[in-house]
Amino acid sequence: MANIMIRKSEQGYVFYMPKRDIEDSIVSMEFDTPEKWGGEIKLGNGGLYYIEPQAAPARLPYSVRAKRIDGVE
């Protein structure tokens, strides 16, 4: 588990992990509706992380705990 920060850019969501200083685009997010948001997220570098599905944050950037399923670190 590690803290990550999700931002919005023109291209879509951007993943940032301060601890390892990894910044990458999020190519897909399992749930992306106002009520249910999160789940498995896939990064541009091939990494796979999991965020506990939750209500979408009111405002981005947003820091959240994420679990690494299959990550390029």
Binding site: M5, Y16, R59
Partner: protein, 490 residues
């Protein structure tokens, strides 16, 4: 020799790698690449921010250097205590030339050194008492300081001193902020982690101090992040922003103060010059205070004009007009400088090896002068820096990460650039090889290089280095062929 093509550059990398033992060779190969603009991400081609191999001459610094020397040092009214043995503090004092306005020892403390001077007994019995005593002493000698930071050196982490507890206790006693910074030198692989740790320390201990008490701020409030005022850089940047109608609330950290840090949460836009050392705090402010941030580049008129327009695009029409006005005002002056120096510098080749930003930021300024960057590399950049670098450099440019002393020398010997821009550790080696050199960390005792005013100095300095007549006198008289014409004094 002309600039290398892709095959030649790749062959050169292979040739240089040849001297390493098998394991080191495999590792170093990952840190060297030939630029390919088609790449979207640098990750597959270059590895960065990894531990240097033992036994090679790396040019990197430590976390303490990144924290005390880079981020904290330039804040003028904060006293930075180098907590630990004396050397770290002494050798990180004043060499970076981050200018400030103020009176040294009265209200500004950038070029003074405060150290707890650890001895054997402090390592054995702990240094907390000494730190407490030191803070009292600092407070009685320099009562006008606005805050104190405790910059840990290696032994503090090794013996497990509780500097946080001492800092909290003393802060309550003296009524000032005392910020413990856990930047022991052994942390991380380079000074880069020191930047991160300092950003986090500012985030945790200072920036929220006036939450709820700040006024709304004006519509044009901005902050300059990551400009360390080396040779007056931040001042040369600031006047341009003010001239276009913006209100610069804070300078981080060159000529900055703790009040400016505390006031930053009210700005409308954070302007980030050194991305590598201050993106962390910009990201934090974006999340907590919803302040957008953008990177900008104030090296060379082309990039300055681009940046001014991009900055203005975040504001209304008065600022946009202001930006155009500023660009129009300075353009003729810049053209005069280019007209003067470009004929003398046209086609000259430069190799750069600096910290984490300048090898890509200065490319535009060199190109404005008709020069070409044929090799670039960083000491401590991360992957996101290389992603940005790939776009800024020409195809088939040599890129090196955490280059070793040997690699740099060999690259320069083979590529034969007309100028090398790097740090003080490399300077004299290249001078002895007969290659013109500019020290690009602290502008070789010159500066500023940022902004329009800075470009004038930049162009003059590059000309001065490259066209210096001393390089024609480099060969000893007895090594010249007998019939060589006698060089005339230039």
């Amino acid at each position: 020799m002309s600039v290398l093509n892709r095959e030649e550059a790749e062959a050169l990398i292979q040739e240089v790698l040849e001297v390493y033992p098998e394991k080191a060779k495999k590792d170093r190969a990952k840190h060297l690449m030939v630029n390919d603009k088609k790449l979207e991400s640098a990750k597959k081609c270059i590895t960065s921010n990894r531990k240097s191999i033992p036994g090679v001459m790396t040019q990197r610094g430590c976390a303490y250097a990144g924290a005390k020397g880079v981020v904290w040092g330039p804040f003028k009214d904060i006293i930075d205590i180098s907590h630990g043995p004396i050397g770290c503090g002494q050798y990180s004092r004043g060499g970076r030339r981050n200018y400030y306005s103020g009176v040294a020892g009265v209200d500004s403390f950038c070029d003074m050194m405060f150290s707890s001077d650890f001895q054997e007994k402090d390592v054995v019995f702990g240094g907390d008492k000494k730190l407490a005593k030191l803070i009292d002493e600092v407070e009685s000698l320099f009562p006008l300081s606005k805050a104190i930071s405790v910059q840990s050196e290696c032994p503090i982490g090794l013996i497990g001193d509780d500097i946080e507890a001492v800092s909290k206790k003393k802060a309550a006693e003296i009524g000032k902020k005392v910020v413990p910074v856990r930047c022991e030198g052994f942390r991380g692989v380079s000074q880069s982690l020191g930047h991160h740790i300092s950003n986090d320390a500012i985030r945790d201990w200072i920036i929220s101090a006036r939450d709820g008490k700040l006024d709304a701020g004006g519509p044009y409030d901005v902050a300059i992040l990551g400009d360390y005022n080396i040779g007056g850089d931040a001042w040369a940047s600031r006047i341009l922003l003010e001239e276009m109608g913006l209100n610069v609330v804070a300078q981080w950290s060159g000529d900055g103060t703790i009040a400016e840090i505390e006031n930053t949460p009210k700005v409308k836009l954070n302007l980030l010059h050194c991305y590598r050392s201050m993106n962390y705090i910009a990201r934090h402010m974006e999340e907590k205070y919803a302040i957008p941030w953008m990177e900008y580049n104030f090296f060379g008129p082309t990039k300055i004009a681009e940046s001014l327009r991009e900055i203005a695009s975040h504001f209304d029409d008065t600022i946009k007009e202001g930006a155009e006005r500023v660009i129009a005002k300075y353009q003729p002056m810049m053209q005069a400088i280019i007209d003067k120096f470009k004929p003398r510098l046209q086609g000259k080749k430069v190799m750069l090896y600096v910290g984490g930003l300048r090898p890509r930021h200065t490319v535009g300024a060199y190109e404005d002068l008709g020069m070409e960057v044929v090799g670039a590399g960083y000491e401590f950049a991360h992957n996101d820096d290389y992603d940005r670098t790939i776009k800024d450099l020409k195809d088939a440019t040599l890129i090196y990460d955490d280059a070793t002393g040997y690699e740099l020398e060999e690259f320069v010997r083979q590529i034969k650039p007309d100028l090398v821009g790097s740090g003080i550790k490399e300077k004299y080696a290249f001078h002895k090889m007969g290659v013109p050199f500019r020290q690009m960390h602290s502008w070789d005792y010159s500066g500023p290089y940022h902004g329009y005013d800075g470009f004038a100095v930049f162009a003059r300095d590059m000309d001065m280095a490259i066209n210096n007549p001393c390089w024609t006198m480099f060969k000893a008289p007895w090594e010249k062929p007998a019939d060589a014409p006698v060089a005339e004094a230039a």
